[in-house]
Structures are given as structure tokens and as C-alpha cells.
């Protein structure tokens, strides 16, 4: 297997293209490792070393998504800049728990992003229900189903990581993958 992993520079940012490349690489390795390929498992660990930079861009992505939805929810600057962001921050902290690993932080971030999106879609649907035709109503219902599934799946993954315990960490603070049982 070709090793494409580069030296890690934690200050260097990951471009969206590099992010997609890394994730594709990881997905391929995960599939092979699931079939028992030990070399692929080592490769997964290697690619995970770039997790620090990757996680940073993902948090930025979540932040962008959050701000866009908040802008649509309210025009009030107080709600946009104070009320909703502080509620979401509290939710994130509660979900991530005390001393969360970077992976737990990321998964908590994902749950909050999914929750916000679902709440917004639900509100839009409820507010426009009487104005919608059949096609629009079906579209919104399908969208709500999709967002609901995504939200539940985000909770499930955080629960899964918690279940297996502290052994599974992407210890990006120390730029290493800690997989000790």
C-alpha cells in the first residue's frame, strides 16, 4: 500500500481538497482494516496523525454552518451574537462532558450542528404548512426525516465512543494516536 502521509505541521491549514483526500484515504483504509488487513490498520493510525489540522477545519466548518442557520433564525443581533451562540455553547459543553477528548469535542460539535439544523427545518415546515402544496410538503417531510436520521446517528456515534471508553482517542494534542487498551 502506498503511504501518502506527510510530515505534520500543526499550524498549516488543511484545504478542503486535502480534507476530502484524507477522508477518502481513511475510508478506504477503514474498509480494508475491517476485513482484517493489519497493514491498513497501521495506515489508519498514520492518517489519523493529521487529525489535529483536520479537526480544526471541521470545527471551522461547523462554526460556518451554525452562523448561517442562526442568521436565518433571527434578524436580532442580540439573538445572533449572544443568545443562541451561548445556548449552543452550553449544549456543546454539556454533551462533550468534563475533559473531553478532541474526538468527543468534534462529535459533540456535530450533534449540536445537526440539532440546530433539525430545529430550524422543523420550524420552517410548521410555519409554512398552510401555504405549501403537495410537492413542497413532501420535500420538507423528506428533509426532516433525513435530518432526524442524521441527528440520531450523531448521538449514536458519541455514545459508541463513550461506550468503548478512554482507550479510543485521537490524541491530537500530542500529535499521536493513542490506541492503548
Amino acid at each position: 500500500m502506498e503511504n501518502k502521509t506527510h510530515e505534520i505541521d500543526e499550524h498549516e491549514t488543511v484545504t478542503p481538497a486535502r480534507r476530502r483526500e484524507l477522508l477518502d484515504e481513511l475510508r478506504g483504509c477503514i474498509e480494508q482494516a475491517q476485513d482484517g488487513d493489519k497493514e491498513a490498520r497501521s495506515k489508519v493510525r498514520e492518517v489519523l496523525k493529521e487529525a489535529l489540522r483536520l479537526a480544526r477545519t471541521l470545527i471551522d466548518l461547523a462554526d460556518t454552518a451554525e452562523r448561517s442557520v442562526i442568521k436565518r433564525i433571527s434578524d436580532d443581533p442580540l439573538v445572533q451574537e449572544e443568545v443562541l451562540p451561548s445556548q449552543l455553547r452550553a449544549m456543546r459543553e454539556e454533551l462533550a462532558g468534563p475533559e473531553p477528548s478532541p474526538l468527543e469535542k468534534l462529535l459533540a460539535e456535530r450533534i449540536v450542528a445537526c440539532w440546530l439544523q433539525l430545529q430550524y427545518a422543523d420550524t420552517v415546515y410548521a410555519q409554512n404548512l398552510d401555504k405549501m402544496n403537495m410537492v413542497q410538503s413532501e420535500y420538507h417531510q423528506r428533509r426532516l426525516d433525513r435530518l432526524q436520521r442524521r441527528y440520531l446517528s450523531s448521538i449514536k456515534m458519541l455514545a459508541q465512543i463513550r461506550k468503548v471508553g478512554p482507550a479510543v482517542q485521537i490524541n491530537i494534542a500530542e500529535k499521536q494516536v493513542n490506541t492503548a487498551s
Binding site: L26, R27, A33, Q34, L54, A65, S68, A167
Partner: protein
Amino acid sequence: MPWEKRERGGFYYTRTKKVNGKVVREYVGGGILGELAARLDALERNQQKEEAAAWKEEREQMEALEAPVEELCEAAETLAKAALVADGYHQHKRGEWRKRRGKQDS
């Protein structure tokens, strides 16, 4: 063409629509009646076009709003799976994650 030329001269306004999958032509009338019906139909068509454009724009906005969250979800899911796999777990039949039995490589 909605305006049909009559053999006796003059024009007759018609509407074509589908009824139970069959194309049916409705004869509305000539003169002022036909003219009025034609204008009303044109107004209705414009309104439908505007509504369709507004709905398209709304859908695009919703999809644009969803795209970064979708990307975040896929990426976070991949990283979480990678962490599990790196620690020797495997997903049993796309469901539960189980620790792989036997000798583990470090």
C-alpha cells in the same frame, strides 16, 4: 397554438390540458371572451413560473445551508470509525462495534 383559425374566418381561443392522461382541447370562445381567457391564462402561467422560481431558490438555499453540516457529519463519522478501527474494533454487520479477537498488533 391556443388561437385556432376558423373556416368562416376569425379566431377561437382554445385550452389544451391533460385529463386522465389524455390530451383534451377545450374550446373557450372568440372575440372579447377569447381575449379575456387568453389574458387570464397568461397571468396564471406567469404566476406559476414565479412560484416555481421562488420554490427553486428556496430549495437551493436550504440545500446550501445543509451542505456544511453534511460534510461535517461525514468527516466526524469517518474519524470516529477510524479511531475505533485503529484501536482494534470492527463493525459487526454494519451495527455493533466489537473488539477484534486474537492477537492485536501494536
